[in-house]
Symmetry: C2
């Protein structure tokens, strides 16, 4: 097998551990210099490939690459740029092949979620059609945990850990204030389509540390009467409760609960979150004092409290992607295979990209409790190992030492390419 | 000195380290059983004393007491219940003395902020007037960092660390997304009167890790034009920026910026935070894509990333309170005295409560940069040591193991007392 260069890019919303996957790709590639020459990263994801804006990762020290393992977000820049089908976006796909040819790239590692898996698959197909040999391997990543086949998606475990811990901590807070002050704490979490992250809020309560929690899943239509009754019951029993609400919760009319048509005093439309909406429902319906938080990026960037399991799996996915490429695989994605839950054992598997692209894994129905407001034991057994273990970054002067790479540009060889949109 | 019992209570908003102060009080008292008999805690703060709802901390194991050091929030319950002046609330003050007499309490340890310091002072004065010997010692606590004399207030350093880290992490996130997506990230932090916590957001940027941050302090009237110009400049230079906004920011009209008279589609008034308001101003003024977060209780409950310095000081304040009591002091508060900043050295001092009560320590003007959007080097020198060091709690199954006490009630000896309000 002649020595080829590799291309690596990060795609879509970043996570606390996507750089750990990058670290796995780069460290493993460096061990196989006989087969993989340079590893070029796309600056700002696939846009870097289209515009021939490549980063020479070879300019980074081994120490800097190792530090990616404990650095959140996308070290090379990510992007939200969806390539359409081969027919509509043929110019883009052909441009990719043109850039790969120009830089002798034979390996395409694409680190992203469902949309990216689809792009990766199309790239592999086009390379076959155009007769340019390219191995396209997808590296799974998404806090949404909605990729099929793989037991979990790198990025999710760390968000889940952050939400479970934060919900437990804030619940301790409200429990100590509830006698005279706040009785309900509402926290809004990510997850527009699937309630995986919201479910993680349920882990805050455990057998040895019971906490009254109401979860609002995007899978369950919001029922105001039932919700208020549940909150009322819990506050009467415990003196307080916490509500974990997914940003994607919809009413029975199918509209997002966050979309309340808010207007300011001047009549301007205002974009609010769903947490204040839920808090307001509680205030109006039960007259209880509340506090609310919106975790937003804090949750997916929280490398300081990443799950050790998640970090290890993110790294393993990157490493396996390179190993699969070296074994000649194409159009595949490494997966996490659960061997057992108690004790938790996992290994690396492989999925065909054709079976991954455009398939969304939703929460199984038996993961949500019959009343729609909590998680079942089955869900708990699934989630618990994913938040297991801590993996603290190094600190200096009280702050985590996250690495910033040099991101040196590779000299361009081609004419500029105009991006659509 | 005859052996007396002690009373300890937590007051006002809780913090990540108020239990560390409780730990300091209880462990130190247990070492002096010849002088301090039982330590009773007020269930839900001073309300526990007024209603004779006392907790016998002697029923807790040494292990449970030690675990308070790493447990956030108020283990005995706190309350928002302000005793007024001696004239208006005389019945309450006399009731306190009655309860203390009934339970042979000679030491009053009150763990709170400015209002509580005032209560503590009044209790000490009344005990003199009523001829009941009682030593009242205040244990400082407040995330707001606004108590005078003491260099800092336990609770603040940990919130500051959380905000500095979270701002750094979210900034890494937005930096990697900004090419095609989010360009401005807005995070709302606590601090209705003073901008200490907002200032901590400035620590996210350091010499070895520059991050474009705009801080909106409650001390600086919001100037929309200047603000938009600043954000615009930073986004043009860096591609993105982060905004740390204090909940207490006011417009030039003196009204809270968060108070936008929001109404939903049905005309109902809605309570929103200031983060979405600022985000909306950016969207309308600059057309930039944004994300926003509201940290709320997550910040002050975040024991998982508490400052080691803060934990040590919180414990030291509790310990010193008992030691001062044993030395015969009354109406005093232990303080943190800064000996030097580089290297950071501190010792425990003492303040007269009369000089603490009703005095609010604001941010010095020279801590805020001339443009009003950042912190000065002087502020940085002050803040940096306070977030220094980590003090991780123990974990089990991926979650921090915070202790819950038995909180066994002490048998009542008096008739019930009706709380006012």
């Amino acid at each position: 097998m002649p020595r080829k260069n590799a291309f690596y890019a990060q795609s879509g919303g970043v996570t606390a551990v996507i750089n750990a996957s990058a670290c796995g790709v780069l460290e493993t590639a460096r061990k196989h210099k006989d087969k993989i020459g340079k590893v070029y990263a796309g600056r700002n994801g696939i846009i870097g490939a289209l515009t021939e804006d490549l980063i020479d990762t070879g300019k980074e020290s081994a120490k800097a690459i190792a530090a990616l393992r404990h650095t959140p977000a996308g070290a090379f820049g990510s992007c939200r740029f969806k390539l359409k089908g081969l027919e509509q976006s043929r110019a883009e796909y052909e441009r990719l092949i043109e850039v790969f040819k120009a830089h002798n790239i034979g390996y395409f590692f694409y680190n992203g979620g469902g949309d990216s898996a689809d792009t990766c698959l199309k790239v592999s197909q086009l390379s076959e059609k155009l007769g340019y040999p390219l191995q396209a391997i997808h590296v799974p990543k998404t806090v949404d945990n909605d990729l099929p086949i793989t037991d979990t998606c790198p990025g999710f475990g760390s968000v889940a850990k952050y939400i479970a811990i934060s919900t437990r901590e804030a619940s301790f807070d409200v429990a100590s204030m509830c006698k005279t002050s706040t009785k309900v704490f509402v926290v809004e979490v990510m997850g527009r389509h699937a309630g995986w992250i919201a479910a993680a809020g349920g882990l805050a309560s455990s057998k040895d540390c019971e906490i009254p929690i109401v979860i609002l899943f995007p899978e369950v239509a919001f029922d105001k009467t039932k919700f208020l009754a549940r909150v009322d019951t819990l506050v009467k029993k415990f003196g307080y409760c916490s509500v974990v609400v997914s940003e994607g919760v919809k009413g029975s009319d199918g509209n997002f609960l966050s979309d309340q048509g808010l207007r300011d005093a001047f009549g301007h439309a205002q974009l609010g979150g769903v947490a204040p909406v839920v808090a307001n429902i509680i205030k109006e319906g039960l007259g209880l004092k509340y506090h609310w938080a919106v975790a937003d990026y804090l949750q997916r960037a929280a490398r300081h409290i990443a799950s050790r399991t998640d970090v290890a799996q993110a790294y393993a996915m990157g490493k396996a992607a390179v190993e699969y490429a070296l074994k000649g695989h194409n159009a595949v994605m490494p997966t996490v295979v659960r061997v057992s839950s108690k004790p938790y054992k996992w290994k690396v598997g492989m999925a065909q990209l054709a079976k991954v692209a455009n398939v969304e894994k939703m929460m199984p129905k038996d993961f949500i409790s019959p009343d729609g407001f909590g998680i079942t034991d089955k869900c708990r057994v699934y989630l618990e190992p994913l938040i297991s273990g801590e993996d603290y970054p190094p600190y200096k002067n009280g702050l985590p030492q996250y690495v910033r790479l040099k991101n040196a540009a590779v000299p361009k060889k081609l004419k500029p390419f105009q991006l659509q949109k």
